[in-house]
């Protein structure tokens, strides 16, 4: 599609790149078919093709975008189903990412919106604060019907059950294998995940150790930076990114070296794999960031390369596998998780309309609760339609969004692989057994 972005704006390399990406779009409309917001709203403005138009006009006009443009860009889940299906290879993720940065730099949000966004940016990356806020949320939960919008969504998200005790993987250090050492990896322990469901990291480390892999939790590594980045706040995201790069490269350059940076939350994985792009114009960081991105592997990608042990127990349950958007669209990992589960002895089922987002999408369920809830209901209906015994996914965001109402235990893929190869029954399944 032709664009006439003023020369002055094109001096910004991100906007120049956006102009090229817009040029690749032929307006065929294929992306609309897989867009969750278009599927539920049916408005071209809430589709990838429509947003590309809005972004083009925003740059062509320059200055502050209007409220409607911002509203439609805000509604994008960044699920990237559109990018995965685009026949012309339009890199929508870069387009929407840069557009969000432009919006935050040029548009003045209401006081309320600003307060909500900065609260989320502050809480999510800090496990201790996040934990405290969940306790506060538990006190507020009984009153949630008095609220609407984001506050209501936040209170709804607070788990109904008591918060799980802290897990085993809560401080930096080496978690060594007792088997013959084959590989050494760093694990991104995640910020939200380790508070909401520490069993996932425990299972991941057990699984890796059992397969002869040393696991390092690098000192100084923390949040991947996605919460701030999703809200278009690159300046707040970059310190996290750089801290992680330093921490991991320190390990990679140590005598033991690193074979991979293993990530077991696909949302974080997508973010780390994009470090190379985020810092491509920073000479001091570009190479280092690209190295980290190249080392980043989802736990299922990594397990596929080293090969799964023979199952230690007989499983055979019907597992419905929910592929997170960040997994199937963001990282294009579609085969490995299901193949591993089958190898571990499970019968694996797909969710109908599996390409559609569940509405979690990072902080989306808090910022756009209405659309998120509609997508959640649609996903749950599809999920239940296959009558599985267990649901599995590779992303904590989706698990949190869906677990309460799935009607079956909702666990992480790594937990099932751990259980099948000799680990304990995943806690979510134990609770149900009681």
């Amino acid at each position: 599609m032709l664009s006439h972005i003023p020369q002055k704006l094109l001096e910004n390399p991100d906007i120049a790149l956006s102009g090229d990406i817009i040029g690749n779009c032929v307006h065929c409309g294929i992306c609309l078919s897989h867009c969750p917001t278009y599927t539920v709203i049916h408005n071209e403005n809430d589709s990838p093709r429509g947003r590309i138009f809005l972004i083009r006009d925003m740059y062509e006009k320059g200055g502050a975008p209007d409220a409607k443009t911002v509203e439609h860009l805000d509604r994008c889940l960044t699920c990237l189903a559109c990018e995965a299906i685009c026949p012309s290879g339009v890199e929508y993720s870069k387009l929407i990412g840069h557009a969000r940065e432009y919006v935050e730099a040029n548009y003045t949000r209401s006081h309320w919106q600003r307060a909500v966004r900065s609260t989320l940016e502050m809480l999510l990356p800090r496990p201790e604060l996040f934990r405290l806020s969940l306790y506060a949320g538990k006190l507020g939960r009984p009153f949630r019907s008095l609220f609407s919008g984001t506050i209501r969504a936040m209170l709804d998200m607070v788990p109904k059950n008591p918060l799980p005790a802290k897990g085993n993987i809560n401080k930096p250090g080496l978690y060594a294998t007792k088997e013959t050492r084959k590989k050494r990896v760093a694990l991104l322990t995640g910020c939200v995940q380790n508070t909401l469901d520490p069993a996932i990291n425990d299972a991941t480390v057990r699984l890796l150790n059992r397969h002869g892999v040393d696991v390092v939790v690098a000192r100084g590594a923390g949040c991947c930076g996605a919460p701030a980045e999703h809200m278009g706040d690159e300046d707040k995201a970059l310190p996290y990114v750089k801290a992680n790069i330093d921490a991991w490269l320190r390990e990679a350059d140590s005598p033991e070296g690193l074979d991979a940076i293993v990530i077991n939350a696909s949302g974080c994985g997508t973010s780390v794999k994009a470090y190379g792009h985020a810092l491509r114009n920073d000479p001091a960081w570009a190479t280092k960031a690209a190295r980290v991105s190249a080392l980043a592997k989802d736990i299922t990608e990594f397990m596929t390369t080293i090969g799964l042990n023979k199952p230690a127990i007989e499983t055979g349950q019907r597992v419905v596998y929910h592929s997170a958007c960040s997994m199937q669209h963001g990282q294009r990992i579609t085969v490995q998780p299901k193949a591993l589960l089958e190898e571990a002895g499970f019968e694996v089922l797909d969710v109908p309309e599996g390409y559609l987002c569940c509405g979690s999408a990072g902080t989306y369920n808090l910022l756009q609760p209405e659309i998120a809830n509609e997508l959640k209901a649609r996903k749950l209906k599809n999920l239940k339609s296959v009558h599985a015994q267990i649901a599995a996914s590779g992303n904590i965001g989706c698990i949190t969004q869906l677990a309460d109402e799935a009607g079956i235990p909702f666990v992480h893929t790594a937990e099932l692989l751990d259980w099948a190869t000799g680990g304990p029954l995943p806690p979510a399944m134990t609770e149900r057994a009681h």
């Binding site: 599609m1 032709l2 040029g23 690749n24 032929v26 307006h27 065929c28 409309g29 294929i30 609309l32 078919s33 049916h42 408005n43 071209e44 403005n45 589709s47 093709r49 429509g50 947003r51 138009f53 809005l54 006009d57 209007d66 409607k68 443009t69 439609h72 299906i85 026949p87 012309s88 290879g89």
Partner: protein, 495 residues
């Protein structure tokens, strides 16, 4: 396009209020920034800002909108998913864009009658998905089938790869419900094969009418059994001529392939890096031939077609032996247009259809036109039914390049008509081929078509400026038609 009426544009807010009373506040889009993404459909070369975008949720709402627009003399452009390749859903500045995207329910699937009754905004592919548990499918499969709507498919009489064997949209429509400009609701045909027989073929009139006659609000489509098995042959040829002759030989032998596609060397070179395959240096053109039916039938046909291809000097003939391999062979064809998009800034693809035995002449002519306009081109098309899709490459940033591409395309289309073909095989006339209609049809033909149009919509408010190069001559049918302040044919005595 007809000049926009500033008086209508000045009443935008007032009209928006009236339409909101019908469909609800949020479903009338009036802000300029939000109307902008609706400026074009699948062709970005033509753009116009719609007066308002209205997204109704029911046939009743559509009827109320039409009556409202008639009362206020507001034009209406119907739109499905906006994938037209002829500008069929190009807005007009003094008219509303009527989107059917919210009417997206499959109302009924009846496997015994083999029908599905759907709303116009239902996506093509979802009909086959809903029919799939019964071993049935909806046959017409335009490349846009994942997103294009059944309503839009009916309006454009969409084709697709498999229409060679199974027919175009018109062959699969059993019933229609449509609303006329005067608010009348028309119900044609019904829920079983042959429901429309005995009367005038009005379903045939509405299918392919490009939104000029009525707004379609419900469609009953025919479902067909999914072919038991399918295999694909990939056949390479040393010359374009040899490939063209092979097309004739296959069809001439009495075989009707499920699909028979042609790709020239330029397309193959563009596709090669995307599918990580190389094509033999001597290959000038490739044919892809799909054969379907029962296993024994398909295996026999594969042998026959292979023998024909060898006789027509094919360099290599490869037949798929698994579904995965079949997918792989099809991938090159499916990626062709995207691949061309990567080697040039813009391309313009048109849609003439010719008798198959004239393929070599017309393809040779294209090379001459390419020289004349100094623009490169490639060929990738539905060879089995002679439906050409020349891809003319240009650069929209170069002033005058688009006009040259359009002139190139027009020359090709005129050639198609001259050899006994037609302007469009499946994309429709829209605005893109409108001015060439006089090349295919005589003044009398066009007059008759216009008369038919006036019988459905004497107001001429439905999708104006599309298909016909000149406005209607309704004056002769009891109403004075004043255009630009002038009566048409002022010298003709009137009674």
């Amino acid at each position: 396009m007809p000049p926009a009426d500033p008086a209508i544009i000045a009443r935008r807010n007032q009209l928006a209020t009236g339409l909101r009373a019908i469909v609800g506040k949020e479903w009338v889009i009036s802000e300029e920034s939000e109307r902008a993404p609706y400026q074009c459909d699948g062709i970005t070369a033509y753009m116009a800002m719609p007066l308002l975008v209205v997204l109704p949720a029911s046939a009743d709402e559509i009827r109320s909108i039409l009556l409202f627009c008639k009362k206020h003399s507001v034009k209406i452009v119907p739109r499905g998913s906006g994938t037209s390749l002829s500008g069929g859903a190009l807005p007009v500045e003094d008219g509303i864009l009527l989107g059917t995207a919210r009417l997206c329910n499959i109302l009924e699937v009846d496997p015994l009658e083999r029908i599905a009754r759907v709303q116009p905004g239902v996506r093509n592919i979802t009909v086959s998905e809903a029919a799939s548990p019964h071993g049935l499918c909806y046959m017409p499969d335009p490349s846009s089938q994942i997103i294009s709507t059944i309503g839009g498919n009916v309006a454009e009489n969409a084709g697709g790869v498999h229409c060679l064997k199974y027919g175009v949209t018109a062959n699969h429509i059993l019933g229609l419900e449509a609303v006329l400009m005067n608010g009348d609701v028309l119900r044609l045909g019904g829920n079983y094969l042959g429901a429309a027989e005995g009367g005038l073929d009005l379903i045939g009139v509405l299918t392919g009418s490009e939104g000029l006659l009525a707004v379609i609000t419900e469609i009953t489509v025919r479902l067909s059994p999914r072919p038991e098995t399918a295999r694909v042959l990939s056949m390479s040829f040393p010359s374009v001529d040899a490939a063209c002759h092979c097309v004739g030989a296959i069809i001439g032998s009495g075989i009707i392939p499920a699909g028979l596609e042609f790709m020239d060397r330029k397309v193959l070179d563009a596709v090669a890096p995307l599918i990580q395959e190389t094509f033999d240096a001597n290959t000038a053109a490739l044919l892809i031939c799909e054969l379907d039916g029962s296993k024994a039938e398909v295996d026999a046909l594969v042998q026959t077609v292979t023998a024909i291809a060898r006789k027509e000097s094919a360099l290599e003939v490869r037949a798929s032996t698994s579904d995965a391999e079949r997918e792989r062979i099809w991938r090159s064809r499916k990626l062709a247009f995207a691949a061309i998009g990567k080697i040039c800034r813009d391309y313009y693809c048109t849609d003439g259809t010719i008798p198959r035995n004239r393929l070599p002449d017309v393809l040779a002519k294209m090379a001459v036109f390419s020289e004349k306009y100094g623009l490169d081109y490639a060929n990738c098309f539905h060879a089995g039914d002679g439906n050409l899709h020349p891809i003319i490459m240009y650069d929209s940033r170069k002033p005058g390049d688009l006009e040259k591409a359009e002139a190139f395309g027009a020359d090709v289309l005129r050639t198609c008509v001259d050899v006994g073909g037609v302007l469009s095989g499946e994309h429709g006339i829209g605005v893109e081929k409108r001015d060439l209609m006089t090349h295919q049809f005589t003044a009398t033909d066009l007059e008759q078509q216009q008369t038919l149009r006036c019988a459905f919509d004497p107001t001429e408010l439905l999708n104006p400026g599309k298909m016909f190069p000149t406005p209607c001559r309704c004056a002769e049918f009891g109403r004075m038609h004043v255009h630009n302040g002038q009566l048409r044919f002022p010298d003709v005595p009137r009674f």
